[in-house]
């Protein structure tokens, strides 16, 4: 490539073989390339542009939490409790106490309030009994040796009520209106509903901000065997809500 006029005179002065001359040739080439691209390759350099940004879009999830209250006890939260892990609190109040000793045909009941304090409606409420084990009543001098969790053992029901704990429907064993005790119900319940997948379905709700009310009934059968004397059933109920 021959340099242009002015550059040619510079070349004469400095010598075409000099490194300066070679550098000048390179620089001149770059100038030519830059000039050409500036005029021809407009789209590559996007000389004009515009832009808009939809900033601050947001999506947030709601919460599905609830409280569990036994009789007039304190609220037990599904979340943030001392034993809470993953929105499951295993430290809520017991429904019954061993200190309240039962006699055949004499029922004991506890009221349970399940209140949805989350922002999402619960599509489903269920309950299950993870375990039921027999033990000697702590103060009994001579346990009878039978298992109240077994066939012919304790009887059990789940009564749904209104907020004043007036019966509305018997959930377990299913019946309209008020529940009645039936044989082997504790055994059947713990046998069939002992995990989350097998939980007993209590239907939909409560919706957020709403509550559902239950009465849990226990009784030794009126014809209980003496072998059930001095025996206790240790069990828990786990309440579960899902969206």
């Amino acid at each position: 490539m021959r340099p242009a006029g002015p550059l040619r005179s510079i070349a004469r002065a400095s010598g075409r073989q000099s490194s300066t001359w070679r550098l000048k040739k390179v620089l001149l080439s770059l100038i030519v390339l830059g000039g050409l691209s500036s005029f021809t390759l407009t789209s590559a350099f996007a000389l004009l542009n515009g832009e808009s940004r939809n900033i601050g879009s947001s999506i947030s999830s709601g919460t599905l939490t609830f409280t569990n209250r036994v009789n007039l006890g304190s609220l037990c939260y599904s979340y943030s409790g001392p034993s809470s892990s993953g929105n499951a609190n295993t430290a809520c109040d017991a429904l019954f106490s061993s200190a309240t000793q039962m006699y055949p045909g004499t029922p004991a009941t506890s009221r349970v309030t399940i209140a949805n304090d989350g922002s999402l409606d619960a599509q489903d409420l269920s309950v299950y009994m993870p375990s039921c084990t027999a033990a000697a009543t702590p103060t009994a001098p001579s346990p009878g040796g039978a298992d109240p969790c077994a066939v012919a053992g304790a009887q059990f029901y789940i009564q749904e009520t209104d907020s004043s704990f007036t019966a509305t429907s018997c959930k377990y064993p299913a019946a309209a209106g008020s529940c009645t005790f039936a044989a082997n119900t504790l055994f059947f319940f713990k046998s069939s509903a002992n995990s989350a997948p097998t939980a007993f379905d209590l239907g939909s709700g409560p919706a957020h901000g709403q509550s559902r009310y239950f009465v849990i009934g226990m009784q030794l059968p009126t014809n209980a065997s003496n072998a059930l004397q001095g025996e206790e059933a240790l069990f828990g109920l786990t309440w579960r809500v899902t969206t």
Binding site: S43, N54, G56, S61, G62, Y79, S80
Partner: protein, 488 residues
């Protein structure tokens, strides 16, 4: 003529110089006049005889030049051109066109790039979507939005791009030129900043790059910078602040998670009260699915989301549907079409469409595609309705939900990391459903011509993966942005 006049004018200073330099030759104007009338009688100032005559002649010549020059300057315009011809191309001008765009979310006010506070044709527009209190598997009307991009300028845009903005904010405290900068005070950061990230502050044609000296979480309002560099310009409030090191992993995307600070419904629990929903790694951004569906001119292309890769033959993203019947069904009568409120998602032929009323439910099979905005779904198989479903009964596309529930790739986080500015999606014009016109030289025509408006739908969905609960996603909020860009 003009050249001659210039020459003559140039002689004037020479004459003047002679007059001055010849100090003492004329003592007054009267002397000059007298000399002009009787040059030979004028007694020159004493001088050496040999010098005097030469100087005298020279001065006369120079004075003559001065007179001619002055005359030429003041009065001889046109005197030297008896004939002349002339043409003038007056009023030539060159003006640039404009390349501007508008961005309209649903039926809101169009946001104009030219109105950007940063005077750089970049506008911070409103949020595309604001969705709250969602649960897995839920899809409501607020979870999709229509975005209309329009070229409002006079120049065609050869390129239209969509990409995830970098972690960004605006200056909430101005910088002063020449003053050392140790901290950038900003609006809540959209995304986190890591130590050593490159932070670019820009306004108009000015920009300056800083280096973060400490990490800042998403939502933070300040960024510490190292080295106390002097500001190279007085950057005003609202100047752009961008972390150009961002969008490389789920940890530093423009999308970021926080725990909700207010309940989804009054009095309910909120994310900040929960201890099982950590925000580390932006899990909500990494779970929420996003799609971008183009519908310009009734042709469809899925730019992002399930259905985009590989591109669905019908150009439809898998987009959930959550609508209601507008015409009830009659028990025992087989419908051929479900009349519904405007679809907020897509239906592909063969999809299962479920209608519900209370405990009654029935599933129909779509016999043709139906698109966002359509108001009917053709169904086949002619099953008689098993119940008289009233109008307003919910209608969902269960096939779409099933498909999305197992999708873990089309998340907001994935979009951000795959499509930062360096991996931006070039929105080539759509030729037919699912097919691009790759030969098109214009991607957004200038105002009022061709395809100067293009329409997109953006949707979000939180899936329900099988076999695991998603309690860890309770009470979280993801914040993110989308950038639409045109080039000349």
């Amino acid at each position: 003529m003009t050249r001659l006049k210039k020459l003559l004018v140039a002689l004037t200073p020479m004459g003047a110089a002679a007059y001055v330099a010849g100090g003492g030759t004329f003592s007054s104007v009267a002397d000059l006049v007298e000399w002009a009338r009787h040059p030979t009688r004028h007694a020159p100032a004493p001088a050496a005889p040999s010098e005097s005559a030469a100087l005298w002649r020279t001065k006369k010549a120079l004075l003559l030049m001065m007179a001619i020059g002055a005359a030429a300057y003041f009065g001889l315009g046109g005197t030297f051109a008896s004939f002349s011809a002339e043409t003038s191309n007056l009023g030539s001008g060159i003006s640039s066109g404009t390349l501007t765009m508008s961005n309209q979310v649903n039926t809101g006010t169009a946001c104009l790039s030219m109105n950007g506070a940063t005077q750089d044709n970049i506008a911070g527009c409103g949020a595309a979507l604001t969705v709250s209190n969602i649960a897995p598997g839920m899809f409501g009307p607020a979870q999709s939005a229509k975005i209309t991009i329009e070229n409002t300028g006079s120049i065609d845009a050869s390129k239209l791009y969509l990409y995830a903005p970098s972690v960004n904010a605006k200056l909430s405290a101005a910088l002063t030129s020449g003053v050392a900068v140790t901290t950038l005070t900003v609006t809540p950061l959209e995304g986190p900043v890591a130590i050593s990230d490159q932070i670019v502050v820009s306004f108009g044609g000015h920009s300056q790059t800083f280096t973060a000296s400490a990490a800042a979480v998403g939502g933070a309002t300040s960024i510490s910078v190292s080295g106390s560099p002097l500001a190279n310009f007085s950057y005003p409030l609202s100047s752009n602040v961008n972390d150009t090191s961002s969008n490389t992993s789920v940890n530093n995307t423009d999308c970021y998670d926080v725990k909700t600070q207010s309940p989804g419904t009054p009095g309910a629990t909120q994310g900040s009260q929960l201890n099982f929903n950590p925000t580390t790694g932006n899990p909500f951004c990494s779970a929420v699915l996003m799609y971008v569906q183009e519908t310009t001119g009734g042709t469809y292309y899925c730019w992002s989301g399930k259905g985009s890769s590989p591109q669905a033959a019908n150009g439809l993203c898998v987009a959930p549907v959550s609508v209601t019947l507008t015409t009830g069904l009659t028990s025992g009568v087989a419908p051929t079409t479900l009349q519904v409120s405007a679809l907020n998602g897509n239906v592909t032929s063969g999809n299962q469409i479920t209608v519900t009323s209370g405990t009654n439910t029935q599933t129909f099979t779509a016999s043709a595609d139906a698109h966002i905005g359509d108001t009917s779904i053709a169904v086949s198989g002619a099953p008689a309705a098993n119940f008289s479903y009233p109008s307003s009964s919910p209608v969902v596309n269960t096939s779409a939900l099933t498909s999305l529930n197992s999708d873990t790739t089309d998340t907001i986080s994935t979009f951000d990391t795959l499509h930062p500015v360096g991996g931006r999606i070039q929105l080539v014009p759509v030729q037919s459903n699912g097919v691009l016109n790759t030969n098109a030289t214009v991607q957004l025509s200038h105002f009022n011509t061709g395809n100067f408006t293009r329409t997109f739908y953006v949707g979000l969905y939180l899936p329900v993966p099988a076999g695991s609960n998603q309690n860890a996603l309770q009470g979280l909020a993801s914040t993110f942005g989308l950038t639409w860009h045109i080039d000349q």
